[in-house]
Assembly symmetry: C2
Homo-oligomer: 124 residues x 2
């Protein structure tokens, strides 16, 4: 018995999708994965190389979760060395504007924090 979840009180309708959406792209690497995938479909190793530091395990976990969420489509090509192609599903396409908005605001945040020299602001 480990029901440590409190009684979920209904949240306002705006924040429910907010949390749900964040549960999808909340991971440290998830936005990057979606970002790269939004450009074009990629294979496992391509993603790894593009993202740079991510370990195979984490990438697998994130991809599996994204696949389970219906955001990413995984297709195994019947080639001799196994090839797997990942691409955004129709659902995943919906995430692109959000990611784009985050990227955009990230740029502007950098400018502002540089201009005003905000203490503890964004590290460059």
């Amino acid at each position: 018995m480990v029901v440590r979840r409190k009684n979920k009180v209904a949240l306002p309708p705006e924040v429910c999708p907010l949390r749900q959406c964040m549960s999808i792209l909340g991971g440290a690497w998830t936005p990057n994965i979606i970002w790269y995938l939004s450009g074009r479909p990629r294979r496992f190793s391509e993603l790894r190389a593009d993202i740079g530091e991510i370990s195979a395990k984490v990438l697998t976990v994130r991809l599996r979760r994204l696949e389970a969420s219906g955001v990413v489509h995984r297709e195994v090509m019947p080639t001799s060395p196994p090839t797997v192609e990942y691409r955004l599903s129709e659902l995943g396409q919906e995430l692109k504007p959000a990611i784009a908005a985050i990227v955009d605001v990230g740029h502007r945040l950098k400018k502002i924090s540089a201009k005003k020299n905000v203490p503890g602001g964004l590290r460059t």
Copy 2:
């Protein structure tokens, strides 16, 4: 001395602000906090009540971090029972479109996942 951070290879210019921005609104509750604050300034207890399940500690930590990032402004009112008002700073205002995009996409995700009955999709 625990420099376990690997040598950070330069990531493409688009994904750096992505990660930086995510480091701001990456917490489980951070988007909600910003969302509520984007409507109007709120006091500590108001935020707690609005968000619902968040514990005082977590809310404090998140607010302190947001304050340190220059996203949220904290003002102590000199009233007899101490009152503290939180509001988005100019920097925080910049985050609103991103949050709005996430909220928006959250709504559409719900529709799609409901329509197509995506396995493991967004829980309603």
